[in-house]
C-alpha cells in the first residue's frame, strides 16, 4: 500500500505519520454528517408521513394553485476539462487512484504558490481572484481560490424549451454571475466509521460556478435549466458535464411563499442530486414539504439549512443548519495577478464558438420540425451533429428526423451506445433516404439496410448489390409473380371474387414474399388489383 502511494505520488510526502493511500483525518466520523438521521424528522410535516413521491409531486402542483408559489435558484459547479488543474500542472482523471494526481502545490505544502472561458453575460475585462477562507480537511490550503466581488461574467440568461410531455413552453432564466474557482478534495468516510480519509486528486481542478437568478418555479423548470447548462458546456466542449462523476453539480435553493407576496420565504438548500430527474423530484418533494408546513401553520419550522436528497427514500433530510451567515473573510489573492482580457481575445472566442442549443432549436423549428423532434435532435450535441451532417448531404429534414428518432434511436437505446459510436455515417443515411425516394428500394428494404449499416457499416449501394435488393419495378416481372400467386391460391381467389376484398392484402403479401420484398408496392398493388378484378 505504502509502495503504491509512493509510486503514485509525484512527490513523496515524508511525513511518516500518515502512511497508506489516504491522508487519515481523524478517528471519529465528521459530526456534520452524522447529524442528519436524528434531525431528519424534526421538520417533517406530520400530516404526510408515508405518501409516495408521485403523489407528493402532484399535490405540490395542485397546492401551488391553492395560493402558494415556489421560488427556486440554482448554483451549478461545472468542472472544466482542462489538461491540468487550475494552479499547478497536475492532470485530473476521474476515478484515478486516490492521491495519485497531486503535487506539493495542490496539496498546499509550505512555500508553494498557485500558477496562473456562452451564457449571454457581460464579461469583466479585468477580474481578479480572491481567497475564501474556511477549515475543512478536503481544503488543503485552508482557503479556496475563488472570485468574490468581480466575477468573470455577470448578468446573463439562458433560454430553454420545456419538454412537450411536461406541457412544453419557452422559458428564459437569468444568470446572476459566473466565476472561476478551484475544486476541493474529496472526503471518504470509512465503513467502520472510526476515521475519514481525504483524496486530494480533485483539489485544484478548475470549476465554473454559475449562479442563477431565483427565476424557476417548479422542479421540471429547474431540472431543464440544469440540463440546458449541461448541453451548453458539452456543445462548447469545456466540460463533459457528467453528473455521476461530479463534473456538473447543482445546489438548489428552494423557498415557498403565498402568491402575491413579494418577499421570499425562508430558503432551504438541497444538495446531493446526481441526475436531472433527481433534481426535479427533490425540488417537488421539498416544495410540497414546505407548503404543507405553511398550511399547517408550522411555517416557522422551515429554517435556513442544507438538506440532502436521499434517493432511496425519495426525501430530503437535514444535513446541517446554518448558524447565521458564514464569514469567509474574502480578500484579494496576493499570489495571482489580475486577469485582464482584451476585446480582441473575446471577439476571437465569440467567433470560434459553436452554435449553441438555443440557436439550434430555433433553426430546427424553422425547418418545420415539431417541438418534439426539435428537442430530441438538439438536446444531444452528437445527435444534432449527425442530423446536420445528414442534411448537408442533401437529405430531407423531416425524413432524416424520422429515421434518427425511429430506428436509429431505438438501436441506441437497446445497445446503450451513442450515435457517434455506430457504424452508420450521415452520408449513408442520406443515401438511404435518397434511394427510397427515387424508388431504388422500398421503405421496408430500407429498414433492413439501415440495420445492416448500423451494425456492420458499409455503403447503401454495397448492401443493395451484395444482397440483390434493388426494387423490382418492371411491370412484366411483377405480373409474372402475380399470376403465379393467383394461380397457386384458387380458393382465396374464389372468396375474393365472392366479395371478401380484404384478401387483396393476403395476395399482396404473397407476391411480396415471392419477390423477397423487392417488388415495388405501388406497382404490385396496381397490377394485383387489375388481375383480381379481371373477370
Amino acid at each position: 500500500m505504502a509502495l503504491t502511494l509512493l509510486r503514485g505520488m509525484r512527490t513523496p510526502v515524508s511525513s511518516s505519520s500518515n502512511p497508506g493511500l489516504f491522508f487519515t483525518v481523524l478517528r471519529p466520523r465528521l459530526s456534520r454528517f452524522t447529524a442528519r438521521a436524528e434531525s431528519a424528522q424534526a421538520t417533517e410535516p406530520k400530516a404526510a408521513p408515508s405518501r409516495s413521491i408521485q403523489l407528493a409531486t402532484k399535490e405540490a402542483a395542485e397546492q401551488k394553485t391553492q395560493g402558494f408559489e415556489a421560488v427556486i435558484g440554482i448554483e451549478t459547479h461545472v468542472q472544466l476539462s482542462t489538461v491540468t488543474k487550475a494552479f499547478c500542472s497536475c492532470p485530473y482523471n476521474y476515478g484515478a487512484q486516490p492521491n495519485s494526481t497531486v503535487c506539493p502545490t495542490c496539496m498546499g505544502h509550505p512555500g508553494t504558490l498557485p500558477l496562473g472561458l456562452a451564457l449571454n453575460c457581460e464579461i469583466s475585462m479585468t477580474s481578479k481572484f480572491d481567497r475564501k477562507q474556511y477549515f475543512y480537511p478536503d481544503l488543503p490550503k485552508g482557503y479556496q481560490i475563488s472570485q468574490f466581488d468581480i466575477p468573470i461574467a455577470k448578468k446573463g440568461y439562458v433560454d430553454l424549451d420545456l419538454p412537450v410531455e411536461f406541457g412544453g413552453g419557452h422559458r428564459k432564466f437569468g444568470i446572476t454571475r459566473v466565476h472561476m474557482e478551484e475544486d476541493a478534495g474529496k472526503l471518504l468516510h470509512s465503513e467502520s466509521s472510526s476515521y475519514s480519509q481525504v483524496d486530494l486528486n480533485r483539489a485544484g481542478v478548475p470549476l465554473l460556478e454559475i449562479v442563477s437568478e431565483p427565476d424557476m418555479r417548479t422542479g421540471i423548470e429547474a431540472a431543464e435549466y440544469g440540463a440546458e447548462l449541461q448541453r451548453i458546456v458539452r456543445y462548447l466542449g469545456v466540460s463533459n458535464g457528467n453528473m455521476q462523476e461530479g463534473s456538473l453539480r447543482c445546489d438548489v435553493n428552494v423557498s415557498v411563499r403565498p402568491v402575491g407576496q413579494s418577499e421570499f420565504g425562508t430558503k432551504v438548500e438541497i444538495k446531493n442530486m446526481n441526475s436531472f430527474s433527481a433534481i426535479n423530484r427533490a425540488i417537488d418533494y421539498e416544495i410540497s414539504r414546505q407548503i404543507l408546513l405553511h398550511k399547517e401553520g408550522q411555517a416557522d419550522q422551515i429554517v435556513q439549512e442544507t438538506r440532502l436528497w436521499d434517493e432511496s427514500s425519495q426525501k430530503t433530510f437535514t444535513m446541517r443548519k446554518k448558524e447565521g451567515l458564514a464569514d469567509y473573510r474574502y480578500f484579494p489573492e496576493p499570489d495571482l495577478p489580475e486577469v485582464v482580457l482584451t476585446s480582441d481575445y473575446i471577439n476571437e472566442i465569440s467567433k470560434s464558438m459553436p452554435e449553441l442549443p438555443e440557436a439550434k432549436r430555433r433553426r430546427y423549428e424553422n425547418m418545420g420540425l415539431s417541438m418534439q423532434d426539435v428537442l430530441f435532435l438538439a438536446n444531444d450535441d452528437t445527435i444534432g451533429h449527425f442530423f446536420d451532417s445528414t442534411l448537408e448531404h442533401g437529405a430531407d429534414a423531416k425524413l432524416a428526423a424520422n429515421w434518427i428518432m425511429g430506428d436509429i434511436a431505438a438501436y441506441l437505446k437497446d445497445e446503450k451506445v451513442s450515435i457517434d459510436e455506430i457504424k452508420l455515417t450521415p452520408l449513408e443515411l442520406s443515401e438511404l433516404i435518397a434511394s427510397i425516394k427515387n424508388g431504388t428500394i422500398s421503405g421496408k428494404i430500407g429498414k433492413e439496410i439501415l440495420a445492416e449499416l448500423i451494425a456492420k457499416g458499409g455503403t447503401v449501394k454495397g448492401v443493395i448489390e451484395e444482397k440483390d435488393l434493388v426494387q423490382i419495378a418492371d411491370p412484366a416481372a411483377i405480373e409474372v409473380m402475380v399470376d403465379k400467386v393467383i394461380a397457386d391460391n384458387p380458393k382465396q381467389l374464389e372468396q375474393y371474387r365472392a366479395g371478401k376484398t380484404k384478401l387483396q392484402g393476403f395476395f399482396a403479401g404473397q407476391v411480396m414474399k415471392a419477390s423477397k420484398g423487392k417488388a415495388n408496392p405501388v406497382l404490385l398493388n396496381k397490377i394485383l388489383g387489375e388481375k383480381l378484378n379481371a373477370n
Binding site: 481523524l26 512555500g111 504558490l113 486530494l200 464569514d327 480578500f331 499570489d335 495571482l336
Partner: protein
C-alpha cells in the same frame, strides 16, 4: 585550464591584485584599533581615483574586477572584499581546494555555533562531500567544473524549502518536515555550484524582529552575545557576520533582511518585489514577501542576486524583466574617478532622523550622508509625509495575509498532528500546540481585520494607505535617485529586552516596512558604530531605489551599447562601501581565535 575563458570573473593571470587570503583572516588583529565611530568624523574622500573606463557593453562584459586597492600584504583595514571572488580565484589557481575552504568555514562554524546558535540544521557532512566532489571534478579537468558559486558555502533561512534538509520555518508545527523540493532561489544557487551548509534560525515563519520567536533556539549577535541579531533573518545575518558561511539567503516581509544586516554589520539586500521567485518560500504575507540575501560585501550580495533573480513560472508574481549581471559594474576603487557619484541625487528621509531614533544612529547616518556628498553626490533632506502611516498599515496587511497563508498548517497532510476525537479539536489542538505565541497573535489580528464588518475599517483602509505610501515614494524617487535612512532606529538591543513588549518591537520596523509596501529594492550597508558590546555595535545605512533599480541597464538604440544608470543601488552601495575608510565590520568573536 580550458574553462577559464568561459568565466565571468577575472582569469588567474590577472590575479595580482586579488588577495591570496580572504580579508577577514588578516584583519582581526587590527579590529579594535581599526574601528572608530564614523559619526565622529566621516571617512575622507579617497585621495586619488583614476578615471572610470567607458561604460560596459551589452554583451556579458567580464571586466577586470578587483576589489582590493591596497597590495595583498597590507594588514591595514581596507574596504570589504569579495569572498566569492577570492574563493573562485583560489579554486581556479589551484592554490586551495574546495575541501580546504569548506573545512575552514566548518571549523569556524563549529567553534562559534555554541554561542551563536545561528543554525537550526547544519549539513556539514553533505557540505564536505560536495566539496570533495568539486575538487575531484576540478582535478579531472572537467569543463565548467567551477561554476559562478562553486565552493561557496551558503546558509539558507529555514523558511526556504530545501529538498534534502528539514525545513521548519522556525515552527514546531513543521518539526521534522522535509519538503520534496528546493525553493527556486535555492535551486538556482545549487545550480551555480553553491554548497548549502545548513538552515538558519529565524522568528517563526518570519514573524518577529529578534529571532527570539524561533520555536527552537535563540540566536545571539556576533558583536555581543547578550544582544539579539535582529530578525526575522537573524540566523542568516549572524552566520555571515561570523563567517560561518560565505553568503546567506533570507526573506524580507517588513525588514527581516535589512534590520538584522544592520544589527550584525553585514550587507543585506531586499530586492524589488517580484525580482526573485517566492516559490518555496513559506508564505508569511504574499504581497510583501521577498527573498533577499546577505554577504560580507556589496559585491557578494550582487553576485548572489544575479544567480537567484529572474522569472519563474511557478511564481505568477515573479517579474520577467531581464536579469543583468549585477556584479559586473562594481569596479575596483583604482578604476574610479575621484568623485564617482557626481550627478547622483540622494534624498535623506527627514522623518527617519527624528524622535525615537538613537542619537548614535542619527550621527552615523549623517556621517554616511556627508561621505556620500564627498563622493560627488548631492544629498538633500526629503520629506515623505505618509511615512508614519506605513507601520500600522503594514501590520494590518501582513497579519491579514498571514491569517490566510498559515491556514494550511492544520496538521492534516504534513507536520505535527495532535490526535483528537473531533475535527474541530484536531484543528484547534494541532495549531495551539504547533504554533507560537507571536504567530497566533498575528493570525488573530489578521482574522479580525478581514472579518465581515471590519474589513473596510482595517484591510481596505490599510490598502488605501499602501497606495499613498506608493505615491509618496514615487514622487520622491522622481526627484532623487536614491533615498537614504537608518535601517533601524537603534543598534542591536539586549536579548529579552522587548520580548514582552510587542509594540516596542513592532516600532523598530518603522524604517523598513514602507519599502515592502511599495515593493521597492533596498540595500543595507554597514556605515558606522554606536557604543555597546565589547567593540561597539554596528549601524547600517539603508539605501532605497525605484523598482528594479538594483542595476538598471539602459540600451542605446543607435549603437546597441548598454550602460548602467549611475545612480543605481548596488553601484552606489559598492562605492560607498569601498571608500569607507578605517572601518572594519568583522566582529570581535573572530578576533578571539
Amino acid at each position: 585550464m580550458p574553462s577559464i575563458l568561459t568565466f565571468p570573473f577575472p582569469a588567474p593571470h590577472q590575479s595580482s591584485v586579488i588577495p591570496k587570503t580572504r580579508a577577514y583572516q588578516r584583519r582581526p588583529e587590527n579590529l579594535p584599533a581599526g574601528r572608530r565611530h564614523a559619526a565622529a568624523s566621516p571617512g575622507p574622500p579617497p585621495p586619488h581615483l583614476p578615471p572610470s573606463p567607458p561604460h560596459s557593453r551589452s554583451a556579458p562584459v567580464h571586466r577586470r574586477v578587483s576589489l582590493q586597492s591596497a597590495p595583498a600584504t597590507t594588514l591595514a583595514p581596507g574596504p570589504a572584499t569579495s569572498s566569492i571572488l577570492s574563493i573562485r580565484e583560489s579554486l581556479l589557481s589551484g592554490e586551495r581546494t574546495a575541501a580546504d575552504i569548506t573545512s575552514e568555514y566548518l571549523s569556524r562554524l563549529r567553534r562559534t555555533e555554541p554561542s551563536l546558535r545561528s543554525f537550526i540544521h547544519v549539513a556539514d557532512a553533505a557540505a564536505e562531500r560536495e566539496a570533495v566532489e568539486l575538487d575531484r571534478r576540478i582535478a579531472s579537468g572537467e569543463k565548467d567544473a567551477v561554476g559562478p558559486l562553486s565552493g561557496v558555502l551558503v546558509g539558507v533561512k529555514d523558511n526556504l524549502c530545501t529538498a534534502n534538509m528539514p525545513s521548519t520555518g522556525g515552527s514546531r508545527i513543521l518539526d521534522g518536515y522535509r519538503p520534496a523540493y528546493d525553493a527556486t532561489a535555492v535551486r538556482r544557487l545549487r545550480e551555480a555550484g553553491a554548497i548549502v551548509v545548513g538552515k538558519t534560525n529565524l522568528d517563526e515563519f518570519g514573524m518577529g524582529s529578534t529571532t527570539e520567536g524561533s520555536a527552537f533556539q535563540v540566536t545571539t549577535n556576533p558583536w555581543d552575545d547578550s544582544c539579539v541579531p535582529g530578525g526575522s533573518s537573524g540566523g542568516s545575518a549572524s552566520a555571515v557576520s561570523a563567517r560561518q558561511c560565505v553568503v546567506s539567503l533570507g526573506s524580507d516581509t517588513g525588514g527581516s533582511v535589512r534590520q538584522p544586516a544592520s544589527f550584525c554589520g553585514v550587507v543585506g539586500l531586499k530586492p524589488t518585489y517580484g525580482r526573485v521567485s517566492r516559490f518555496g518560500l513559506m508564505a508569511y504575507a504574499s504581497s510583501l514577501d521577498v527573498v533577499g540575501c546577505f554577504g560580507s560585501s556589496v559585491f557578494d550580495t550582487a553576485t548572489i542576486l544575479s544567480v537567484v533573480a529572474g522569472h519563474d513560472k511557478r511564481d505568477s508574481t515573479s517579474s520577467s524583466q531581464v536579469v543583468p549581471d549585477y556584479a559586473s559594474e562594481l569596479v575596483s576603487l583604482d578604476l574610479l574617478e575621484s568623485k564617482p557619484l557626481t550627478g547622483v541625487r540622494i534624498g535623506i528621509i527627514q522623518e527617519t532622523l527624528g524622535e525615537g531614533v538613537a542619537n548614535g544612529v542619527i550621527s552615523s547616518i549623517k556621517g554616511a550622508a556627508s561621505h556620500l556628498e564627498q563622493l560627488g553626490s548631492v544629498v538633500e533632506e526629503v520629506s515623505l509625509p505618509s511615512f508614519s502611516l506605513g507601520l500600522p498599515a503594514y501590520y494590518i496587511l501582513a497579519s491579514s495575509e498571514a491569517s490566510s497563508n498559515l491556514s494550511r498548517y492544520d496538521g492534516i497532510r504534513y507536520g505535527r498532528q495532535v490526535s483528537a476525537d473531533d475535527l474541530n479539536d484536531l484543528y484547534g489542538e494541532s495549531r495551539a500546540n504547533g504554533l507560537g505565541h507571536e504567530v497566533k497573535m498575528r493570525i488573530l489580528m489578521g482574522t479580525y481585520a478581514l472579518s465581515a464588518g471590519y474589513y473596510d475599517a482595517y484591510y481596505k483602509r490599510a490598502q488605501q494607505v499602501r497606495t499613498l505610501v506608493n505615491e509618496s515614494f514615487k514622487d520622491a524617487l522622481e526627484r532623487y535617485d536614491i533615498l537614504i535612512s537608518p535601517a533601524a532606529p537603534s543598534a542591536a538591543y539586549k536579548i529579552g529586552e522587548k520580548i514582552n513588549d510587542p509594540l516596542a518591537m513592532y516600532a523598530g520596523d518603522i524604517m523598513t516596512v514602507n519599502v515592502n509596501l511599495a515593493g521597492l529594492p533596498a540595500l543595507v550597508v554597514p556605515c558606522g558604530f554606536v557604543e555597546g558590546g565589547p567593540a561597539g555595535l554596528p549601524v547600517g545605512l539603508q539605501m532605497i531605489g525605484s523598482q528594479f533599480s538594483e542595476a538598471q541597464r539602459v540600451e542605446n538604440p543607435l549603437n546597441n551599447f548598454c550602460h548602467f544608470i549611475q545612480g543605481n543601488l548596488l553601484r552606489v552601495g559598492h562605492i560607498f562601501e569601498q571608500t569607507l575608510q578605517n572601518l572594519s565590520f568583522v566582529p570581535p568573536l573572530l578576533a578571539e581565535s
